[in-house]
Amino acid sequence: MRGATVGHVAAVLAGAGLAASCGGPQSALAPAGSDAATLSHLFYVLLAGAVVLWLAMNGLMLWVWRIDPRPMSPKRARLLIFAGGIVFPTCVLSALLVWGLSIMPDQRAPGEGLRVEVTGEQWWFRVHYWPEGATEPIRSANEIVLPVGARSEITLKADQVIHSFWLPSLAGKTDMIPGRVTRMSMEPTEPGEFRGQCAEFCGDSHAWMAFTAKTMTPEAFDAWLAAEAGPAAPPEGELAEAGRQAFLAQGCGGCHAIRGTPARGRVGPDLTHLASRLSLAAGALPMTEAALARWIANPAAVKPGAKMPAYDHLAPDTIRAMAAYLKGLE
């Protein structure tokens, strides 16, 4: 009885786990882009083929061992092995190889219009938007925003170590290699919010190196890009103003840029429109004032090895004010 209960629970958990992996914001099986749809289709065809083969092989074994066990002439047995063990797999593998290779060129089709340059840092993503004809990029970080219905070019770079850029809902993954520029392209088909992550071990906080992505209609995207290119919102209220002053006084601008303020550092992520992003610290924390305060006080407690120093020597009120200011940077 107890064993049966444990079995039921295990089955339900396994089923839930499998079902969960087929959906959500980070699943190659819930595609929202044309490249991901191709990969998902490839997966389902291979899965169906594997199921058919599995049933056929086990059915055959059942047949010859249990249902109709009869001696077979050596000649017939050899023929069976030759046809089923050599010719058939060779044909199936050849067909799959031809199909798989013929899909590959479309996966890297050149983008048109927008180019997004993403640089892998330890452990966050530097994101530069280059609209057509731009001479200066629009700087952002840790979030990719793309228009639906257009194929955007993605240029990939890395600082110090190898990373891998993977946004499974939209496309396959591509390595980011220091000293080299790799590329891919993405063609979102549905508006939505997604999650991607670094898929190549890159140091202490590799597991905390994620990013969020938004896809939106071309009109919404144009409006978003125009807003993203603009300066930061001025602080609203006394607390936020105090936070702004503390931010500048503590030298945060040495590493971070907030356009429209004296903060122009480019070592760390650009914070101009920080609060408009879906997550904080490259997917490690939610975008809330509490999380901002926690991050400022001790980044390495959230992300081991994070290069930003801890500011836990500041008064809690000062940290709270800085968090309020940053949360206002929509």
Binding site: T90, S94, L97, V98, L101, S102, M104, P105, R108, R183
Partner: protein, 127 residues
């Protein structure tokens, strides 16, 4: 005094014949990948001409492999007695064993060379 052997390396001792086809496969692989790497680094762009070069390698390699497959098929000498048992201790057994193995390796190499060349025909881009 024993009679002087007709060949230095009679077929029942010659392992090089058996591995000839896989060697062609290896050389074809090396040439195809090295040419592609150099082409994409130095020339880029026009991959159609690269595909023709790889096709040339492939036709040459397959011709050599087919030629050797025929030679190994003859050495196996299957059709005389439909004999695929090679565990005797005679020269004939050893010769036919090497022929049988060489023939199968040639068949494998034939397919493998096509698999190696497929990307050049189907991908059509250096990216």
């Amino acid at each position: 005094m024993p009679a002087r052997p007709v060949r230095d390396l009679p077929r029942h001792r010659n392992l090089f014949r058996m591995i000839f086809a896989p060697t062609v496969w290896a050389v074809h692989f090396l040439l195809a990948y090295a040419t592609t790497a150099i082409w994409c680094a130095k020339v880029g762009g026009d991959v159609a001409r690269l595909a023709w070069i790889v096709t040339g390698y492939t036709v040459l390699a397959e011709a050599l492999i087919v030629w050797f497959a025929v030679a190994m098929w003859r050495q196996w000498d299957y059709m005389d007695d439909f004999d695929y048992v090679h565990d005797g201790d005679t020269d004939e057994d050893r010769r036919e064993f090497l022929g049988h193995a060489g023939f199968m390796l040639a068949c494998l190499s034939f397919v493998a060379v096509i698999f190696t060349a497929l990307p050049a025909w189907l991908i059509g881009t250096c990216a």
